[in-house]
Symmetry: C2
């Protein structure tokens, strides 16, 4: 694995790392929806030319996170309420499929990873400055779940859908449309429940619990949407 080796990273490794970095910045709202990204500035920041950068931007555009307009700029995409609902409906179904298709019992290392996430979730404080750490923790939780099924296309797609919803959810959180304390408490509870189910070896229960919490999260977003309708 190139991440631990001290060998010089290949072109593919550099591109993958750059894509992951930009994706995180988008999902963690360093680059909020609608923001314009200047190719020249980004290339300068990462010490590369526009050519390899544009290759990464093309992949992010294919993933639906960016959109480039000739002569205007490259913008972070936004999601209409309808699109967000479609994605959430899909995420609910896929959450259960993960336990049905090619489930993989977690090993000791993975269980430790879930426990660590739970510990960090319990240590969160409802401080606006911790919102980014909170969002990153949720991302780690979703990424850890990828190992619970050997069905690679399924888990990749589920993660892809999460990346779509993450920034919208976090945007609602930052806009105080959601209660930070409540969200943190519920997330800590979700991680604890899912981890307990995994330790009991019941992947089906873990999937149902995750699905239930995703559904509740979606419901909270929809409820807040009625008060201040957007585009």
């Amino acid at each position: 694995m190139p991440l631990t080796e001290d060998a010089p990273p290949s072109a593919r490794d550099r591109a993958d790392a750059l894509e992951e970095e930009l994706r995180d910045r988008i999902c963690l709202l360093d680059y909020p929806p609608g923001m314009r990204l200047a190719e020249t500035e980004l290339a300068e920041e990462f010490g590369i030319s526009r050519t390899p950068l544009r290759r990464v931007l093309a992949r992010l555009e294919a993933a639906g996170l960016l959109v480039s307009v000739h002569g205007v700029g490259t913008f972070v995409t936004d999601l209409r309420d309808e699109e967000l609902d479609q994605i959430y409906r899909l995420r609910l179904e896929l959450a259960q499929l993960a336990a049905t298709l090619d489930p993989v019992p977690p090993d000791a290392a993975l269980l430790a990873r879930f426990r660590d996430i739970g510990a960090r979730a319990g240590a969160l404080t409802p401080d606006p400055a911790c919102q980014r750490a909170f969002a990153r923790l949720i991302m780690d939780f979703v990424l850890a779940q990828k190992a619970l099924s050997a069905n690679v296309p399924l888990m990749d797609f589920a993660t892809h859908l999460y990346f779509q919803t993450a920034r919208i959810w976090l945007h609602s959180l930052q806009a105080s449309a959601l209660d930070l304390t409540e969200e943190m408490t519920l997330f800590a509870r979700e991680v604890a429940q899912v981890t307990a189910a995994l330790e009991a070896g019941d992947l089906q229960a873990a999937a149902l619990l995750h699905r239930a919490h995703v559904s509740l999260s979606w419901t909270r977003i929809r409820q807040r949407r009625l008060t201040d309708p957007q585009s």
Copy 2:
């Protein structure tokens, strides 16, 4: 829509058209798995430089149809039996989800499209020269089904998975691992049954029929796999 307008196509239109063309060539086995694609030759064929071509190749690589290796070449990917099975298992589940999540009753134009596909399927002759036309017809059938659900991410993903399996299935067909006459007959029957269900307004039945035929197709591939095991 830019396809019917005589206005000069934008850069995005050209890239989309090129990606579609290359994707079709891969899925129709003009470029079989393992084949090397020379960027210089492709760029020359389409009358462009390597720069915009590489942008399209990057998207196809993100879609899992190509893989580029520095200093060696760009190759059409192959699927191991295990990967193919994972995708088929997933396709079966998604086929039903299409009728559950945001189903859209077909309008007259879409029904006519399905009937046309059925007519062309009935006119197929078990001639090896018609294999490509057969594969294209199946592709049209899958693409027409995209309109049966308003859940864009779901249908896009289902189509994406089809593109993965299509070339492997066609490869088995060309290797005479599958019976051409039988496959044509079964496909014509599937289209007829699905169309009848759609005309009756029963999207759930249409989805179940499609799922059943995908499952049977997968079973036929697996049965043939036992006789001559591959990688």
